[in-house]
């Protein structure tokens, strides 16, 4: 077993685009679920809208990469309004079912061959990197050290990702300590009490849905920045993985989602190198390496079950600040 490669793969995932995308998506979900108490199970839909909005703007309309990113963000806000207006009056588990259905509708629309010209159907979209790479301020070369060694393009993605995660976390932290944030948390605790104070609960919920959705869409764009957009990524399992990351870190916290995303991906990267290595060295008999890599998703599921039962507030959370424990 080559511990060097296993540990280096694990260390790399600490700062991978996937980790930063998950951190942003989980932060958006924290605004929805952790702070506003909205059971949004359509977070994959927001990520898809962001990523496709970005890629389609570049490929079909020939926009610059940053205007395209703005288009992705606006599209996510519109998606939040379309999804929120009919559904936000519903009770918790109804909302969960509707949002999961809405995300699936979005995915099916991107997957169908009817719009293949624009969406690329099952192949997805790719080859939209020219504008982003042209804007790279870093000259050609290698950056970083050890497992964190990048070429100039990877480094540019990394810098953008880290800056976006930091800005989003700062924004959510300020927001949740503002009067607006206190109303939102009040809605989570007792909607009727907030309504009795004369606040328009529905309007606050829509705002929370838009803000969280936009942050998740930025996550989707970061996910798409270095690679490609494929409809099979945005399945309901992606939503569940983001939920796992969020609950792991702590739903009603600002740094919990970031910590959860990092732990989630570090563990995933470790297991995806470690389990096949176990198989190769004959420690796991009767298991093929393909089977070994499905095992880590089994572990994600078991982890989620144990987490929700034994530590629903997550690593950083406070048990008093979690409505679903009631």
């Amino acid at each position: 077993m080559d511990w060097g490669i296993i540990l280096s793969n694990t260390a790399q995932s600490l700062l991978s685009p996937a980790t930063m995308a998950f951190a942003l998506a989980a932060l958006g979900l924290a605004v929805h679920f952790g702070f506003a108490g909205l059971l949004n199970f359509g977070i994959a839909g927001f990520m898809a809208v962001g990523a496709y909005g970005y890629a389609i703007s570049i490929l079909t309309f020939g926009l610059q990469w940053w205007t395209s990113a703005l288009v992705g963000i606006v599209a996510a806000a519109v998606f939040a309004i379309i999804m929120g207006v009919p559904t936000l009056r519903l009770r918790g588990d109804y909302l969960a079912i509707v949002t999961i259905a809405a995300a699936e509708i979005v995915r099916l629309l991107f997957l169908t061959t009817a719009f293949e010209e624009v969406t690329g159907s099952a192949d997805g979209l790719f080859g939209y990197h020219a504008s982003f790479r042209a804007s790279n301020p870093f000259p050609e070369g290698t950056y970083g050290f050890g497992p964190w060694t990048y070429n100039e393009v990877e480094f540019w993605v990394l810098v953008i990702g880290v800056v976006l995660v930091a800005l989003a976390a700062l924004f959510v932290w300020r927001l949740m300590n503002s009067p607006w944030g206190r109303v939102i948390k009040g809605i989570r605790e007792d909607e009727d009490a907030v309504r009795a104070l004369g606040k328009n609960v529905f309007s606050y919920k829509i705002q929370a849905l838009i803000i969280g959705g936009v942050i998740a869409a930025i996550g989707g764009i970061v996910y798409a920045l270095p690679s490609a957009v494929n409809p099979n990524v945005y399945m309901t399992s992606l939503t569940f993985f983001v939920w796992t990351a969020l609950l792991l870190g702590g739903a009603a916290t600002v740094f919990g989602p970031l910590l959860g995303a990092v732990i989630f991906w570090v563990l995933q990267a470790f297991l995806s190198s470690f389990l096949p290595a176990l198989v190769a060295s004959g420690i796991l008999p009767m298991v093929s390496s393909a089977q070994a890599s499905t095992l880590r998703f089994v572990l994600v599921g078991i982890g989620l079950v144990l987490l929700v039962i034994f530590r629903p507030q997550g690593i950083l959370g406070d048990k008093r600040e979690l409505t679903f424990v009631k």
């Binding site: 519903l90 969960a96 259905a101 089994v298 599921g301 989620l304 009631k326």
Partner: protein, 435 residues
């Protein structure tokens, strides 16, 4: 002058001869060249364009396909199955054209484009089929198509109903929106595969054994997980997320055992018998509808008239009141878990024939349709779920007449959202259920 004329004639003759010889060699060339065209060329390249050529469902052999673009051209002739495959040196845009002169004379080209642009994506390959004689389909009248779709939809709806009833019963008695119900559907199908294919038992033993295994799983799930969690006092949202975790774990565990491929139950390729109009059903389809109907009727009688059935409905209405009037809630809930697992397992076996094929994530594909059925009928009402499922089944199948068939689940999902907008309690639900 006469010399001139004769030389001109001579020239004319030579020209004619030349043309004749050239065409002769061209013909010869064509004859010699055709066998040289394999059904698969360019194996040495990493990128691949492949496809099928068919006319009215029959494969066409020896049709020439040309691929050009990016400074590269290649040709191939289809094999006896109508298949062809061409390797190309790079991805990106390519033009695929079918040589019309190599088509048999009786093939109707119709509005099928013979030259098309394709692009090779990250997968490294792309499929481009030429299917002729499809326009004949339009000859089937719209009414006939509709009738045929309605019957398929009814079959699908009944099967979906079996699964949705279980989901609704569990919700009614315990309040749990069970996302892992889909895995019970897959489990039933997998067990049927295990007993009938791996152990080679006859179907009449294999399927009851599969349902018995489903019942065992339902009992074990309640005994080992859900009952202790209820005693622990977990909230409904927490329970729902537990079911999501369980669904992930169970789904990938099943992939662990059966892999990512699709497998068939015995008799899955039964011949479709034309019945009337455009309706053609196989024996399996008919048996499937029959079994669904019988099981649903038996279940309805049980729920309406038996003591446990009445207790189940009482708990769905008001669990505390039911407990206070002497109903053993835990016992009834356990029976409900067993029944819904068996119904889901049966739905899984039937769906394995309907799709057709068994895959590790087959249940998840219809989970949202089950939820749509349950919400449409009214959460927690068993008969509502059945009606909802039939409506969803009919909608899914008939909507494929109007929208692309890869969007056929879309209608059901839109209906799910729409029904929550206008009548959140569903068709048979009561208003107080909605908060």
């Amino acid at each position: 002058m006469s010399k001139n004329t004769s030389s001109r004639i001579a020239q004319g003759v030579t020209n004619t001869l030349k043309i004749a010889i050239v065409s002769f060699f061209a013909l010869m060339g064509a004859f010699v060249a055709s066998p040289a065209l394999a059904d698969s060329v360019g194996e040495e390249f990493d990128y691949r364009i492949a496809g099928n050529v068919k006319s009215q469902g029959d494969p066409l052999e020896g049709v020439r396909i040309d691929v050009s673009g990016n400074g590269f051209t290649s040709s191939v002739a289809t094999d006896s199955d109508g298949k062809w495959s061409i390797g190309v040196p790079q991805d990106g845009e390519w033009t695929v054209s079918l040589a019309v002169e190599t088509l048999p004379a009786d093939v109707e080209v119709g509005d099928e484009e013979l030259s098309r642009g394709v692009s090779i994506g990250p997968s490294g390959s792309v499929i481009q089929n030429f299917i002729f004689g499809q326009s004949e389909r339009a000859l089937i009248s719209f009414t006939d198509q509709l009738v045929s779709r309605l019957i398929y939809g009814l079959n699908f709806g009944l099967m979906l109903g079996l699964a949705a009833i279980g989901l609704s019963l569990v919700y009614g008695t315990t309040g749990l929106s069970n996302f892992s119900h889909a895995e019970l559907v897959t489990f039933g199908a997998l067990m049927a595969l295990f007993f009938s294919v791996a152990l080679s038992l006859p179907l009449w033993i294999a399927f009851p054994l599969a349902l018995l295994a489903s019942a065992g799983l339902g009992w074990a799930q309640d005994a080992a997980l859900w009952r202790p969690l209820r005693k622990r006092g977990l909230g409904l949202v927490q329970l729902m997320i537990v079911s999501i975790g369980l669904s992930l774990a169970a789904r990938y565990l099943m992939q662990f055992f059966v892999g990512g491929g699709t497998q068939q139950l015995p008799g899955a390729s039964a011949i479709k018998i034309p019945l009337f109009g455009a309706v053609a059903l196989s024996i399996v389809d008919l048996a499937s509808m029959g079994i669904s109907l019988v099981v649903i009727v038996v279940f309805a009688l049980w729920l309406t008239f038996s003591r446990t059935g009445k207790a189940t409905r009482a708990i769905s209405d008001n669990a505390d009141l039911a407990a206070a009037s002497g109903i053993d809630v835990d016992r009834v809930v356990r029976i409900v878990w067993i029944i819904s697992s068996v119904l889901a397992g049966l739905a899984g076996i039937l769906w394995a024939y309907f799709r057709p094929g068994i895959k590790w994530d087959m249940g998840e594909k219809i989970l949202l349709l089950m939820f749509a059925a349950v919400v449409l009928g009214g959460l927690g009402t068993a008969f509502g779920a059945l009606i909802g499922a039939i409506i969803v089944g009919l909608l899914v199948e008939t909507s494929a007449l109007f929208i692309p068939s890869d969007l056929k689940y879309l209608g059901a999902l839109v209906l799910l959202i729409a029904i929550l907008l206008v009548r959140p309690q569903g068709l048979l639900g009561r208003k107080e259920r909605v908060g």
